[in-house]
């Protein structure tokens, strides 16, 4: 029993990690050693790929910075709008809330990639193209359904007597939110923030169509652009270095916040 379990765990780890480890391995190999399997060991290991990626124009960390900027503004904006909305969703009549939740669930399920064309037109008409901060506008809107669902289920789980006690104590709406309710839903807020940040960090089709200027690209687009640039002689070593560098921030994020991610996903998924 225990031994088969160990086998399964090993298989799971291998399945999750092997593709990543292969990238790490590749990123430290010189291009010659990748193309000719039987080269000697001296010429195999190299940091050349990383040097190449980090000294390119623009350097790779620029994309990380861009993605972080979009991610942080989108997350902040989403929370700013979703928290009051989620709160009021708990207060509206039950049938209205039910309808709104079904609608939000539908929007959360919607394959948003189908929206890119109209959003691109919007960006052109409002002159929002090639503007990192503007990118957080569609991201905020696209994250909104899930964020409102997650947060409103957190608000609903709070005992109503807590808010009533605050009302009797003389706290107005904003004071109740500021001093009592928002501190109490902090765990759900953290989960939501991480999910929104992950979405913004990883989003591809909209960033692809909204941003064309090379030093404003977000990470996913930059990576894809490397792939599209040279069809025949693809510099896989440099790629692998880029994927490793692109994965590192998320690796840290997942390791630090895995508890919040798990609880956020699992709560919102069902109760919404």
């Amino acid at each position: 029993m225990i031994r088969t379990r160990k086998l399964w765990i090993t298989a799971l780890l291998l399945w999750s990690l092997a593709p990543l480890l292969w990238q790490v391995y590749t990123s430290f190999c010189s291009n010659e050693s990748l193309l000719h399997t039987l080269t000697d060991h001296q010429s195999r290991w190299t940091l050349e790929n990383y040097r190449q990626v980090l000294t390119a124009n623009p350097p790779f960390w620029r994309y990380l910075l861009n993605s972080a900027l979009v991610g942080i503004t989108s997350t902040g904006l989403t929370l700013l709008i979703a928290i009051p909305a989620a709160y009021s969703l708990v207060k509206v009549p039950r049938n209205v809330a039910r309808g709104a939740k079904l609608f939000l669930l539908g929007a959360a399920l919607f394959p948003y990639v189908l929206l890119f064309l109209a959003l691109l037109e919007l960006a052109r008409n409002l002159n929002l193209g090639n503007n990192l901060l503007a990118l957080s506008f569609p991201y905020t809107a696209l994250s909104m359904p899930l964020a409102v669902l997650l947060l409103s289920s957190a608000f609903r789980d709070l005992p109503s007597e807590l808010e009533e006690a605050a009302r009797v104590e003389g706290l107005g709406l904003w004071q109740r939110l500021r001093w009592v309710l928002i501190p109490l839903i902090a765990p759900a807020t953290a989960s939501t923030a991480i999910l929104v940040f992950l979405f913004s960090w990883n989003e591809y089709p909209i960033a692809l169509t909204w941003i064309s200027s090379a030093d404003l690209l977000t990470l996913p687009v930059a990576i894809a652009r490397i792939a599209g640039s040279s069809v025949y002689s693809i510099p896989y070593g440099a790629y692998a270095a880029a994927t490793v560098l692109g994965a590192l921030p998320l690796l840290l994020l997942v390791i630090i916040f895995q508890r919040q991610i798990v609880s956020g996903l699992t709560q919102g998924a069902i109760k919404g």
């Binding site: 999750s16 593709p19 292969w22 009021s88 189908l114 894809a224 896989y236 994927t243």
Partner: protein
């Protein structure tokens, strides 16, 4: 008064979800392409007629549906196994759970590029394994019959953790004394899985199915970066086709038509899957 707090969220959602859908409906009955000088001219349903006769659209629909069903089924099976494993208590479970989550957190394009290297012919590790076993070259990314399977692998690898987490949440809602009662009645673990776990997990399985089906049907990032829709359009998805129509052929009217068409197909497929599940449940009730 308090409903006002909903307003900004509602407006944003309406703007980003609602207006595009209306715009597409309008675009789909207009010609708007390089040919018309990017000016919209009503064309009386010609886009829709073209859609019905467009072999590439129907081929892409079939390919997308095949991709979606195969990868979502695999994901549900794998995720169930992973969830069962992570639901048990053992040392180091937290670390393994974090590692399991990792593929889901990475940008799709990053690993799409990674997969391209892994499936590369002749330098990727898969081909080198083939050489080791003295197999002929597999040409995974250039053989139209099998390339789609590689995209399935990429999708399953990335999204299984998400489904596994949903199912894990479901497993953790099942009270332990249900199993104890079942064992006291003389049940064995295998029977417990079918009689207790699966029925109680059903809403979670359905939710995962619905969520993933919708996402897989709109697959874009993975395909665009990993295969570009090739070889010979054999992995092209509906979303990619709509994208190409707009961005490469600059035919916005038809691109919008393809998007509405894809959306309607998706709704149809979701309803169909729902009905099939509902029916089988109904039949099972009859045979009991």
């Amino acid at each position: 008064m308090i409903q006002l707090l909903l307003l900004p969220a509602a407006l944003l959602i309406a703007l980003v979800f609602g207006i595009p859908l209306i715009r597409y409906c309008w675009l789909s009955v207009h010609a708007n392409s390089v040919v018309t000088g990017l000016v919209a001219i009503p064309n009386h349903g010609a886009n829709w007629l073209r859609l019905f006769n467009d072999e590439r659209f129907w081929q892409d629909s079939a390919q997308t549906a095949r991709f979606a069903f195969v990868s979502v089924s695999l994901e549900l099976l794998l995720a169930l196994a992973i969830a069962l494993l992570l639901d048990q208590r053992w040392r180091g479970r937290g670390v393994v759970r974090a590692i399991t989550l990792l593929p889901w957190a990475l940008p799709t394009t990053v690993m799409a590029l990674g997969w391209r290297w892994i499936f590369n012919t002749p330098y990727g590790p898969i081909e080198q394994l083939a050489v080791l076993f003295r197999l002929p070259p597999l040409n995974i990314l250039s053989n139209p019959d099998i390339t789609w399977l590689a995209t399935v692998v990429g999708d399953v690898w990335k999204t299984t953790p998400f489904v596994a987490l949903i199912l894990l949440a479901g497993l953790q809602t099942i009270p332990n004394d249900l199993y104890e009662a079942f064992y006291l009645e003389g049940g064995n673990p295998r029977a417990a899985f079918f009689k207790v776990t699966l029925p109680l997990l059903q809403p979670y399985l359905l939710l995962g199915l619905l969520f993933r089906l919708a996402q897989a049907f709109g697959v874009f990032d993975l395909i665009q970066v990993m295969t570009g829709g090739g070889p010979a359009s054999s992995t092209e998805s509906l979303a990619l086709y709509a994208y190409l129509n707009a961005m490469r052929f600059l035919d916005f009217g038809y691109s919008a038509t393809v998007m509405i068409g894809s959306f309607l197909l998706l709704v149809f497929i979701c309803l169909f899957s729902w009905l099939v599940i509902y029916q089988t449940r109904h039949l099972r009730g009859v045979f009991k």
